[in-house]
């Protein structure tokens, strides 16, 4: 008679892996690392596929290295993250090596509506004044009134050490991210910096909370009619993974 070891192993793989995933999710939600109320500016609705009825919010932060906001993400910080930055970045062979360096896993500290956001706005305003563009006022208004106020302020491989440096759990989120080496500046003034990207962008909205967003469609911040339509209470657990704890419509 034919044995059924294979089918039993396959069924066990399904049950054990799901059990581990559920245990991981439960242990994440057993504690709260941060809790913050964000708006549609920071959590816009993700564009939905035609055949997808799930609802997702996209964690949106300010452009990672615009206007020297990330001047703290320098060569020394890259070394701390594990990058080999011994080679002179101005040498051609070194730049090829730096550009081909794969991104490293890390955790980013995102500050919500704090001094980093004010600094970003000031830098942006100053850069717009230099351009003398007729659209400057509109561009500034778009960023100031409709852009995400989450700004990266630090990055590290150890989330506990990062939290110890930034203990404000209602204003600073610690999120999984990736960091890639890149260059800032131009000519002989070029220096090494990092390009930060979130490792987890889309956040699922489960029932019954998703009913609060029924009938809404994704709205771009580039649209002049954009006004935040909801507030989201977002919690981050012990593994720094988020979940939606509440949604309040604003209008």
């Amino acid at each position: 008679m034919r044995t059924r070891t294979g089918i039993l192993v396959a069924a066990a793989a399904v049950l054990v892996s799901n059990g581990l995933a559920l245990w991981h999710a439960a242990s994440n939600r057993a504690g709260t690392d941060a809790e913050v109320v964000l708006t549609e500016r920071e959590l816009p609705m993700s564009a939905q596929e035609k055949d997808d009825t799930g609802i997702w919010l996209r964690l949106n932060w300010t452009p990672p290295f615009a206007f020297n906001v990330n001047d703290w993400l320098d060569r020394a910080k890259l070394r701390e993250l594990g990058f080999d930055v011994t080679a002179d970045p101005l040498q051609e062979a070194a730049s090829r090596r730096y550009f081909s360096e794969p991104p490293r896993a890390a955790f980013a500290a995102l500050e919500y509506d704090g001094p980093a956001w004010q600094k970003y706005l000031s830098s942006y305003e100053a850069s717009l004044k230099n351009t003398n563009s007729p659209q400057s006022a509109d561009q500034l208004a778009r960023v100031r009134d409709r852009g995400s106020r989450l700004v990266p302020i630090d990055v590290a491989t150890d989330p506990a050490a990062l939290r110890a440096h930034h203990p404000n759990t209602s204003r600073v989120l610690i999120v999984p991210a990736t960091v890639r080496v890149t260059y800032a500046g131009s000519g002989t003034g070029q220096r090494l910096t990092g390009y930060l990207q979130p490792a987890l962008t889309d956040i699922h909205v489960p029932l019954p909370l998703s009913r609060q967003l029924n009938g809404m469609t994704p709205l771009s911040i580039y649209s002049p009619e954009f006004r935040s339509r909801y507030e989201v209470r977002l919690r981050f657990g012990t593994h720094h993974e988020p979940w939606v704890a509440g949604i309040t419509p604003l209008h």
């Binding site: 059924r4 294979g6 399904v14 997808d52 090596r97 081909s100 360096e101 991104p103 490293r104 489960p206």
Partner: protein, 357 residues
């Protein structure tokens, strides 16, 4: 019955040999080279017919060419149907999952691959050819991929290579249970991704960056090839070849990538040294595989290694000649080399014929 085949593939080979034998016997009789006595002919036909009937009833083999053509058609239909079925099931889930509570979503996601496994087992009990069983097995694998992916999304779990370990174990188990080569390929690719991703993670690199460090793929290929050589397969006689072919394609692609991108290596040597070293390994490996393939009669290995040998050769010629030669001369030279390769491969084929003889 003495010398009875162990599996359907061996049974089909036996049936094919019988058909070829009958065709050759008819040709020999027509040319008056051999003539059987009526009694001998009757005994032979009776023996071969009973053998074919036995093979057909036990393994559902194809006994003539038209049956074989139908079987190929069914195999193509199963593959295409399987892919369509997988896409349909995944899209069906996403179409309605927004209307389900988290508990119902998770319960359905876990139950779906288990139900598909049960259907696979039922189908395997009812048919010997395993067409419907392989269709159900593909659906089960797709549903399990959907399951872990969707559970990860529902709970916003940061992605990791560990899901590939689970998919790999599942696909290996189903492949060995029903002797399904496609599932074995999926299992090998999944385990390769898991191994590469885990090595990257342990080095602090984000786990999806295989292209950024092709040596991890190379290592996974070496492990799979070694498994193909050493792991005994008494039931699934065609599986070692699947291990070797999957490993060879993955390993040679990684080597090819490294010969042109030394900066992507783990080795902190000058780029040119890294590229030349991996190019030398590529040459040596392709020649070694061709030699071993000829000696052992592994035609698939020889074909794959020969194809990559030619690619390595053209890459080398490009690097030597492209910049300083007029274009027409370069292509003429490449044409001449191609002719040389044909002659070389013909000699190798003649050698392999003598080995087979």
């Amino acid at each position: 019955m003495p010398g009875e085949p162990a599996d359907r593939q061996s049974a089909q080979q036996r049936a094919d040999r019988i058909r070829s034998f009958r065709e050759e016997l008819a040709a020999l009789e027509q040319q008056d080279v051999l003539r059987l006595e009526p009694e001998q002919r009757e005994r032979l036909n009776r023996h071969l017919d009973s053998l074919l009937t036995s093979l057909q009833s036990k393994f559902d083999v194809d006994v003539n060419l038209s049956e074989k053509q139908f079987s190929w058609g069914m195999r193509i239909a199963v593959t295409l149907g399987g892919l369509a079925l997988c896409a349909g099931l995944v899209l069906f889930f996403y179409r309605y999952w927004g209307d389900l509570s988290t508990q119902v979503q998770v319960a359905l996601l876990i139950a779906a691959p288990l139900a598909a496994l049960a259907v696979t087992e039922l189908a395997a009990r009812r048919e010997k050819t395993l067409y419907f069983a392989s269709l159900a097995a593909m659906a089960a694998a797709a549903l399990f991929v959907l399951d872990l992916y969707a559970v990860g999304s529902i709970f916003n779990i940061t992605s990791s290579p560990n899901a590939f370990a689970a998919w790999s174990i599942f696909a290996f188990a189903v492949a060995y249970q029903y002797r399904l080569r496609l599932l074995l390929v999926i299992a090998l690719i999944s385990s390769g991704i898991w191994l590469s991703g885990t090595i990257l993670s342990l080095n602090g690199i984000y786990w999806t960056q295989f292209g950024g460090r092709p040596e991890t793929i190379l290592l996974a290929a070496v492990v799979a090839y070694a498994a193909g050589l050493t792991v005994p397969h008494r039931r699934s006689l065609d599986f070692p070849a699947v291990y070797r072919w999957t490993a060879l394609v993955g390993g040679f692609v990684a080597l090819l990538f490294l010969t042109g991108g030394g900066e992507f290596s783990f080795l902190h040597w000058p780029e040119r040294v890294v590229e030349r070293s991996y190019e030398a390994i590529g040459w040596a490996a392709s020649i070694a595989i061709i030699t071993m393939g000829i000696r052992r009669g592994w035609r698939g290995d020889v074909n794959i290694a020969s194809a990559f040998f030619a690619i390595f050769l053209y890459v080398r010629l490009y690097r030597w000649w492209w910049d300083w030669m007029p274009r027409y001369l370069f292509f003429l030279a490449v044409g001449a080399v191609a002719i040389g390769l044909v002659i070389a491969f013909r000699r190798l084929r003649d050698r392999s014929r003598s080995v087979y003889a």
